[in-house]
């Protein structure tokens, strides 16, 4: 049979044997079998059981980093404070050429790092006189003055590479007292609950905690230790020896190659998340449109895996496996 004849044969309606088939029965059997396998392995292996990351853990294990991050939140220089949408308007956000997707989506989850992360949590406590005075002084000062105090202190901490005890004295206003107050609050374990509190009975919104964590080194270090960083295929991984999200290999792949590996290279590396999302969107569209893309839609003709699956049928129709050219 010639190649053209084979293609006509492949495209023609099925002429082999047919029999009744119960898809519902097959679906039910598949669900039951998978449920049994999952239940068995759940009992056998449990689930990832890493110790939770808490502000207490952060402030106790690396109090200088927590303290310095608090100052950044007050100065408006932290990652969250400069992120842009959906939290604030302090950054342009990611873009793909003229498409400013992040900015266009707008500020849908406003976060003011000064009040949400520092002043409001401190105010939920019975404060010592020093801290209460520091909060009053801060609240009474004009925004420009607040900014000057916090930025000066933030710069001084950066100058000594985050070693708080080595910071030179200066006109920092109430900022050191506020930072120390929040550090003490975190060490006592009170900050976790204060940031989570939303007024409802069930607390399910962890946005503030995660953003605050993300501004310091605590979450980042934990991610590195567990091989969860994007640059090391972290999207595919799980903590411990549990299998991860292997199906995300292609999404994760792009983060391993230039220019996406260099977050300082513009325009692509600096906007890697947006570009990779677009690439995956185009590829997913390609997957959906396989039946109409020339060259791709005829791949089964050139890679006839189906002839292996229904080999007996093809054999009975006189079609042999084509030799490799």
């Amino acid at each position: 049979m010639s190649k053209a004849e084979k293609e006509i044969f492949d495209a023609a309606p099925w002429h082999g044997k047919t029999k009744q088939y119960d898809f519902i029965k097959e679906g039910v059997i598949a669900v039951v079998v998978v449920a049994l396998i999952v239940t068995f392995f759940s009992f056998l292996m449990g689930s990832p059981d890493d110790k939770p990351l808490t502000f207490k853990g952060w402030a106790v294990s690396n109090s200088d980093n927590f303290y310095a991050t608090t100052v950044q939140e007050l100065a408006g220089t932290s990652g969250t404070a400069t992120y842009g949408a959906p939290y604030n308007k302090n950054g342009q956000g990611l873009n793909i050429g003229p498409l400013w997707l992040q900015r266009w989506a707008g500020v849908t989850r406003p976060i003011d790092t000064v009040n949400d992360f520092v002043i409001a949590p401190l105010s939920t406590q019975v404060m010592s006189t020093d801290i209460a005075n520091a909060v009053s002084t801060w609240n009474a000062a004009p925004v420009s003055q607040q900014k000057t105090w916090a930025t000066s202190y933030d710069d001084a901490i950066t100058k000594v590479e985050g070693k708080i005890s080595a910071v030179a004295t200066g006109a920092y206003g109430p900022v050191p007292a506020l930072a120390q107050g929040l550090t003490d609050m975190a060490k006592a374990g009170a900050l976790d609950a204060a940031l989570l509190s939303q007024g409802g009975f069930f607390q399910t919104d962890n946005t503030k905690q995660i953003l605050f964590f993300g501004d310091g080194s605590y979450l980042d270090d934990a991610g590195t230790a567990a091989n969860l960083q994007g640059g090391t295929w972290g999207m595919m991984n799980e903590t411990g020896r549990y299998p991860g999200q292997a199906w995300l290999w292609l999404y994760s792949f792009w983060y391993q190659i230039p220019p996406f590996t260099n977050e300082n290279s513009k325009p692509i590396g600096a906007n890697a998340d947006a570009y990779i999302m677009a690439i995956m969107g185009v590829m997913s569209l390609g997957l959906i449109l396989i039946p109409i893309i020339p060259g791709i839609k005829t791949l089964p003709m050139r890679i006839p895996i189906h002839r292996g699956i229904w080999s007996e049928y093809y054999k009975s129709q006189g079609i042999k496996r084509s030799k490799r050219r």
């Binding site: 449990g46 295929w233 299998p243 007996e312």
Partner: protein, 62 residues
Amino acid sequence: MTGWIADFMNHPATYLKSGWVQISVTNLIVISLMLIIFALAIVIPFPHGKKKVPGSTKETRK
């Protein structure tokens, strides 16, 4: 969850690294199993039911 298997699973994983490719041994096992099952699904022939004996009325019983 307790037990030695759960303890074993919660230890840091072993990773294989070659250049920019890095994969955990667990993920490698899972991916390999998926590929093996896929290959088997293609290679293993379909099960055949009872062949109808010519002239027999057994399968057309009402």
